[in-house]
Every structure is written in C-alpha cells, then in structure tokens.
C-alpha cells in the first residue's frame, strides 16, 4: 500500500519537471505500435469493405460495402471453420486445464525428484512452435512414427494414420497443442494452488472431509478465480494457432483442421483474396472478444463467490 502511495508521489515529482520528457520517452513505442497495429487494423477494415486485386499489383477495385461479410456469413466454409475453431478452442482449454491441474496437484506435493519433474514439465514451452510441429509430425508418422511404434511395442497393431482422417487429424493437432500449453497452465495453476491457504484445507480435513472432498468442495471453488484467467489465455491462443496447423496438416485433410485463423491465411495468402481474408479476420476477432467477455463475466462472478 505504502509503495503505491509513494509511487504516486514520484509521478508527481517528476511530472512537474517534465511532462514533455515523459511524452518523448513513450513516443517511439507508441508510434511504432500505432504504425504496425493501428494503421494496419484500420486498413484491414478498408480491405474488408473492398474488392481487391493483387495482380499484377495491389489495387482496390471498388468499394464493396458489406459484401465480403455477407459472403462469409453465407458460406458453408466459414461456418465449417467456425465450428472447427470453437470445438478446437474449447477442447484445448478443457483438456489442457484438466491435465495441468492434475500435474499441478502432483507438483504441489513434496517428493523426491520434484525439481526434475518441474523442469521437464516446463520444457515443451521452450520448443519453438515450428520445431514442435516438426517433432509431432515425426511422432505421428504412420509408418515409422513413435506413437505407432509404441502401440506396436505393447502388442497393438499400430497402423493409425494420425494425420489422415478428418476427425483424427484435428485431434492430433489438438494433442500437439495441448502438449505445448501444459507448461504455462501448470505453472499458473500451481501458483494458484500455493495461494490456497493450507489452514483452510486443514480445517476441512479436521471437519472430516477426505482428500477428494477437500479437493471438490474447498480447493476447486477457491481455484476458480485462477482457472478462468488460464482459460482466457488458452482460448485466445487457440484462436491464433497457426504454426502447428501449418506444419502438421496445412489445414487439411480437406479443410478438417482449417480454423478461422487458418482460413484467413488461406484466403489471404493462398487465394490472394484480401477482401475475404480481412472480413474473416474481423469476424474471428469478434468471436474472440465475445468469448473473452463471457469468460470475464464468469471471472467476476467467481471472484465474488470465492470472496463471499
């Protein structure tokens, strides 16, 4: 508390000397961000309302009004991608949070080799997304991949074509992405677990609650305000997944792994239809913002419940 009061004081002390200096210090960052985000974001609005020709050189053919948006909303491909995106996003959140919660509960205990486990759990985070994509391509390889090898080693047939079928390909991409996000979610949830006061758990145990009931009725409700931010982060990332899909499936087989974000890429940089790509990008943004708003509302409610 005192720290904040003092910070306020310094802001005042320094600001008397140099409001202009403050602006000068912030200006380069703000200008660059404005140039690379705000200007393109606005330009993309213009794209989304235009017919665009890219060959032989970039040219806005005509103002198209809301045509691009209407076309998207009327196209089966858009809704297919939306369904895939939502399913992928929700599954990524669900699976990652459940698995990470388990690992966090484990890491919250004291046992020999805990430090080693902690470092190992962090490792996938350090693998560049593209490298992780290549690594999973080799894991999933139908003939000599490690997963099928493993299945054969345990006496199975091991002939699964992981990236071949429409349903299985989407879930293979999901496995690769969950693996990549477990480190973040685990560390975040572990930090949350360490905040849940030990005394509360002890009190529950004294009251006769077993470990399952303590988890269900004490730890989980108290963890909700920590779980929801994790879900928000994961969902936003799921909406932006690109590298893994590009490397593993390029959106296929036959669009089965084409999320909205990947659809933007396909429309923009494979079909060079910037008008459609821009409108899809904005529809995806709207979807993301909507989902965050919903989750944020849940967070506020959870905080109130946990506080009460």
């Amino acid at each position: 508390m005192t720290g904040e009061v003092r910070a306020e004081k310094t802001i005042r002390t320094v600001s008397r000397r140099g409001r202009r200096a403050a602006i000068a210090l912030v200006a380069p960052a703000v200008l660059i961000v404005a140039g690379v985000y705000a200007y393109p974001a606005i330009t993309t609005v213009a794209y989304s309302l235009s017919d665009i020709d890219l060959s032989p050189r970039f040219r806005i053919v005509r103002f198209a009004g809301l045509d691009n948006f209407i076309n998207q909303l009327g196209s089966e491909r858009f809704w297919e991608a939306t369904r895939i995106t939502l399913y992928f996003g929700l599954m990524l959140c669900l699976v990652t949070v459940v698995v990470s919660f388990g690992i966090a509960l484990l890491l919250n205990k004291t046992f020999l080799g805990r430090g080693l486990l902690r470092v190992t759990v962090l490792l996938p985070w350090a693998v560049p997304p593209v490298a992780s994509g290549v690594l999973w391509v080799q894991m999933f390889h139908a003939e000599f991949g490690f997963l099928n090898g493993l299945i054969r080693a345990f006496g199975g047939e091991g002939g699964i074509i992981w990236l071949g079928g429409q349903t299985i390909a989407l879930h293979s991409v999901l496995i690769a992405e969950v693996w990549r996000w477990i480190p973040f979610a685990t560390i975040f949830l572990l930090a949350g677990l360490q905040i849940v006061p030990r005394t509360v758990k002890e009190a529950a145990a004294i009251d006769g609650a077993g470990s399952w009931r303590t988890l269900r009725h004490v730890t989980l409700p108290l963890m909700l305000p920590v779980v929801i931010p994790v879900v928000i982060f994961l969902f936003v990332w799921a909406m932006k997944v690109f590298d893994t899909i590009f490397v593993l499936t390029r959106g296929g087989p036959s669009r089965a792994t084409t999320t909205l974000n990947f659809l933007v890429y396909r429309q923009g940089f494979e079909q060079f239809d910037f008008g459609s790509a821009a409108s899809t990008a904005y529809l995806l943004s709207a979807l993301t913002v909507l989902a965050i708003a919903g989750l944020g509302w849940m967070l506020v409610r959870a905080r109130r419940l946990a506080g009460a």
């Binding site: 310094t10 593209v130 690594l135 894991m139 090898g149 936003v236 943004s285 993301t288």
Partner: protein, 280 residues
C-alpha cells in the same frame, strides 16, 4: 478421515507413479526427436522403432552444416542470429524508456496506452499482416533484414513494455526520490540511477526479445522467399529436408537448442513472473 499407515503408503506410491507418467509423457516427444537425429536414415525408416539406441551417429549434424547441404542451415542460423539480436536490442531500447515513463511519470493517456498494448494480443496476427505485407513490398523491404526486424520489433514491443514495467516497479521509489532531492535532472536520474538498477531486467528483456524473434515463423514465411534470407524456423520447411528425416530432426534440434538452454537457465525467473501475475 484418519489416514492409516497403509493408506499413506498407497498414496506415496500413487504420487511416484503419477510423477513418472507425467515425466515420460512430457519428455517423450523431445526424446524422440533427439533420438531420431542420432540414428541412421535406414533405422529411422524401419518400422521397428528402437526406443533405446544401440549407437549414436552425428552424421546428420555434420551433413546439415556441410557446404554441400541442400539447405543452408549454417547460413540460416546466421540470418536468424542477426535478425534476433537486432530485434532484441532495438525492442529493449524502445521499451525501457516507455516502460519507465508509463510507470513513473505522468503520461497523458497512460491507461489507454497500456490497455491498447494488452488488447493487441487478442486480435489475430494475420489481421495486421495483410497491410504490412503490401507496405513491405511497396517499400522494397521484401526479402531484407529490415523487412523482418521491423515487424518483429513491433510484435514484441507491447509485451516487452509490459515486462519491463514490472522491473521498473520493483525499483524502490526512495532511491529515485533521493536522487531528485540531490538535484539530479531527468537524464542523470535515468542514466545514473534507473538504468544501472534495471540491468537484470534489461538482460532478461534482451533474452526474451531474442527468443521471440528466433522462433517467429509467420513473418519470414510471408515476408521472404529468397533462400539467402532463410531463417532457422523457415529452414525447416523451405527445403527438401523432409526427404531426409534424420537431417530434418537434426535441424529441428539445432533450432530448439538456444531457446531450451535459455529457458532451462531461467526457469526459476519465468516461474516467478507467472506467480507474480497470479497473485495480482
């Protein structure tokens, strides 16, 4: 429920079994790629996967770094080094003053700036990339270092300002107040007091900027096409390497290695940053 002695023993065993399972599942893919990179192409392509190697060969590593390699891995590493180091230095140089001003001075529109910097990450990167692509082509920056560094810096900057801000806030205000009482002007305050105290933060920021630029894939994919501008991440694709699985695995390990080393070295700090975020 009173835990009986056998119950406790069962629970201990369960903990260790769980730990081993997690350890294997999380490490297995990484182990797999390292293993692949050290086996001969013939063994890699055999359906009998040997999970424990009987030999180790470095031929794939020598091959990808040899002059006759189909993919200029060494050259791509140099490109990525140049671009990543430049990005790190430029980003930190711009982010530190901004972070200081935003946290310790009265900047008009402070909340708007910080809010905008966070909101950017919600939107898909491709949304910004399309006009940038047109601009980069029109300015003749396609296939140049600047054409890569500029977007990298911008993509990293908002996050960097945020991270540097947490380091700025950790400097005791009293130190700055004392300097001001002693009659130091803003330049002295920044160069004599703040920057030396920020040294660990700046170091962390440089590594962060380096890592983010090193792993970037979308920008080089769209903004370069010449093999001489190849970055390490792109090198894993714009190549015929997928014909040689062992070499691809070796190149993947080389791409991941710097990031893994940096992360392993700083895992405690990374955990601290996240933990601090949770507590807030």
């Amino acid at each position: 429920m009173v835990a009986t002695a056998p119950g406790r023993a069962v629970r201990r065993v369960a903990t260790y079994v769980g730990a081993v399972v997690v350890l294997i599942v999380m490490a297995f893919p990484l182990y797999g790629i390292i293993l692949t990179s050290t086996q001969t192409e013939r063994d890699i392509r055999s359906a009998d996967v040997a999970f424990v190697p009987t030999y180790i060969t470095t031929e794939h590593y020598t091959r990808i770094f040899s002059a006759s390699s189909g993919v200029p891995v060494a050259e791509s590493m140099v490109n990525s080094l140049v671009v990543a180091i430049t990005t790190a230095v430029v980003t930190v140089a711009i982010a530190v003053p901004a972070a200081y001003a935003l946290n310790r001075m009265r900047v008009p529109g402070r909340r708007l700036i910080l809010g905008g910097f966070a909101a950017i990450y919600v939107l898909p990167t491709l949304l910004f990339v399309m006009p940038l692509f047109i601009t980069v082509v029109q300015l003749g920056l396609y296939d140049t270092y600047i054409g890569l560094v500029l977007p990298y810096v911008a993509f990293t900057l908002p996050f960097m300002v945020w991270i540097m801000g947490s380091f700025v806030r950790s400097i005791p205000v009293a130190v700055e107040e004392m300097a001001l009482i002693d009659g130091a002007g803003l330049p002295q305050l920044i160069f004599r007091i703040v920057l030396p105290l920020l040294r660990p933060g700046i170091f962390a920021g440089l590594l962060l900027g380096f890592v983010l630029a090193w792993v970037e894939f979308l920008t080089p994919l769209l903004f370069t096409s010449n093999l001489s501008m190849l970055t390490v991440t792109l090198g894993l694709f714009r190549s015929t390497m997928d014909i040689e699985i062992g070499q691809l695995a070796a190149a993947t390990v080389m791409t991941a290695l710097p990031v893994i080393l940096i992360t392993a070295f700083f895992q405690r700090n990374i955990t601290e940053v996240i933990t601090a975020g949770v507590e807030r």
